[in-house]
Each structure stands twice: as C-alpha cells, then as structure tokens.
C-alpha cells in the first residue's frame, strides 16, 4: 500500500505544479507526469490492459500538446488570476469533496470487489464462464468486445463523430493549404 501513497503524493504534487507554474511547457510536462503516475498505479493494481492504453494515449497527447505549446510565441502566463473563476472552482472542488466523502463510505474495502458478496452479480458469470462462452483467454477482451460490446460501439461512435467533426471544421483551410503547400 505504501507504493500507492507515494504515487498519490507524486500525482498531487505534479497537479499542483501544473496549476501554479507560469511556464506553459512545464505545465504540459506536469500533466504528462500525472498520466504516467496513473499508468503506474494501474500497473500495480494488476490492470495491464488499462495501463498500456493509458501510457500510449498519454504519450500521444503529450506530443500534441508539446508541439502546440512550443509553436506558440507566448509561452508564459502572466497577470493576476481572475477572482470569480477562483471562487467558482473552489466552490465546485469543495462540493465534490463533500459528496465524495459520502460516496466513498459506501464503497467496499480495497481489494474486495462487491461481486464477491453478491451471489447474483453478473461479474461472477463473466469470470467463471467467460472462457467457455467467448473463447478469449483475455477476460477483459471478452467483456469489452462480447458481453458489453454495446459500450465499445458507443465509444467507437463517439471517437468517430469527434474526428469527423474536427476534420470538417478544419477542412476548409486545410484544402487551401494542400493545394498551395509553399504558403
């Protein structure tokens, strides 16, 4: 458990630096550090599927953000903070904190999932009969692509729609540039 607390401390420090620093590039690198910490936590929680996805998406997002960051002319944030924004975010964070304490009390203990106590839970079927019903040795794959494939379809649709939207919005200027690449 000590590993988790060290990683949590690391993530919290990185998040505070990302908010407080005035250099845009340092903020982006701190966001990357948060992602890598989260990936390590998934690895220690024995969820290698999510750890792989997290680290890969983090690397790609970091590349995009750093490229967008160093091509800007102004990379420093200056001036005082906006008073209204600070108050609103503090109120929201405090509300989430209060609600979170209430909700975290109802969760089962760490390491004992809730389906270990409920005999009728669907997760029991997945872990007990997943291999015979789908034939996939990786139970995560059998859940996300067979038992709960509707979720994956929704996720794929969200990604497809957002990419189509981004491409259509940026297309007009892109076409102009593609025809005249020396510009």
């Amino acid at each position: 458990m000590a590993t988790f607390y060290i990683l949590l401390l690391f993530i919290i420090i990185a998040a505070i630096i990302a908010v407080e620093t005035q250099n845009l590039l340092s903020a982006v690198i701190c966001v990357g550090a948060i992602g890598f910490g989260a990936s390590l936590m998934f690895l220690f929680l024995r969820a290698p599927d999510i750890a792989i996805t997290q680290i890969v998406v983090e690397v790609l997002g970091l590349i995009i953000l750093i490229r967008a960051c160093i091509s800007r002319e102004r990379t420093f944030i200056s001036g005082p903070r906006e008073f209204f924004g600070v108050v609103v975010s503090l109120v929201i964070v405090f509300t989430i904190f209060l609600v979170g304490i209430k909700i975290l009390e109802t969760l089962p203990d760490f390491g004992t999932p809730i389906f270990a106590e409920a005999p009728e839970a669907a997760s029991r079927t997945y872990t007990a009969e997943g291999l015979q019903k789908t034939g996939a040795a990786n139970l995560v794959a059998s859940v996300i692509l067979d038992f709960r494939a509707y979720d994956t379809l929704g996720e794929a649709t969200v990604l497809f729609t957002s990419i189509i939207g981004a491409t259509v919005i940026l297309r007009k200027k892109t076409k102009k540039l593609l025809e005249d690449p020396d510009e």
Partner: protein, 155 residues
C-alpha cells in the same frame, strides 16, 4: 517544417518499423494478452506521428495521405458495425452475437490459440484500424491547420 537532424532521421527510420510491428502484435493478440484494438491502434498512429516529427509533414503525407487515412477510418468503423450486424442475421439472431465461436468453435480446444474467440479478433482489427487512422488523421489535420492560424494572427 523540414524535419530534424540526420541522427534522428536514421534512428527513427529503424525504430518506426518496430513500433508498427508492435502495434500489429498488440492488436492481433488482443484476445490472448493484455492490449487490444484501442491500444494497438494508438501505437500504429504513434509510429506515423514519429515519421511526421522526424521527416516532416510532407514525407508522412506521401506515405499515408489525408484521403486515404479518412477512408481507412471509415472502413474500420464499417467493419466493426458489420461484425455486429452479421450476428443479427445469423443463428440465434442477436446484435453482437459471437457467431463464429458459438456456432463452430464452442466446446473445442481452440481456447489459447491465435485463431479463437470468434468475432473478438475481428472486432479488435476493426477498432485498431479505426483508432489508428483517426488519430493520425486528427494530428495531420491539426499540423496542417496550425500555419494558417499564425498567418491570420499576423494580418
């Protein structure tokens, strides 16, 4: 953007093949080992992003142009929907019915082979194609779009 120095170009021309191969491995073995369509697709996209960063945007565009990437994106999405729809018209007739496994492979000793799990590898391949093409597409579009933005700001 003309690309980086010759050291970066030489190393990335070797490494890009390994990254691409690793992405294909993650996709194809998604039903046996950790990984799957989404992670493998992002690795495929990142190999092209490495190409784009090291050699410049034009070189990456010659390898995988914008229309081809958008067509690959649509083909992946259609393939995933088709895998789901075939189950609707086959056998027990329900959406996302794992028809290959349930009709032909159930009860056999295929469980830990590469060819097992019915439609799950097919869905993994479709999702990997879709995610890889679409992420490369959005990075390409963003990197093309950026110079025009700075031009507008100067005006």
């Amino acid at each position: 953007m003309k690309g980086m120095t010759i050291i970066v170009k030489t190393i990335s021309s070797w490494v890009k093949v390994l990254i691409f191969l690793f992405g294909i491995y993650i996709i194809l073995f998604g039903h046996l080992t950790p990984g799957g369509g989404f992670a493998g697709g992002v690795i495929l996209a990142s190999s092209y992003v490495l190409l784009m960063l090291a050699f410049g945007r034009k070189f990456a565009e010659e390898n995988l142009s914008l229309p081809v990437a958008s067509k690959l994106d649509c083909v992946g999405a259609l393939l995933f929907a088709a895998v789901a729809l075939v189950g609707l018209f086959y056998g027990a007739a329900s959406f996302f019915w794992n028809f290959i496994h349930q009709e032909y492979l159930v009860g056999t000793d295929y469980e830990f082979n590469l060819v097992s799990a019915g439609t799950i590898p097919l869905s993994n391949i479709a999702i990997g194609l879709k995610v890889g093409a679409s992420l490369f597409l959005v990075i390409l579009v963003l990197s093309i779009f950026r110079p025009d933005m700075s031009g507008n700001e100067k005006e």
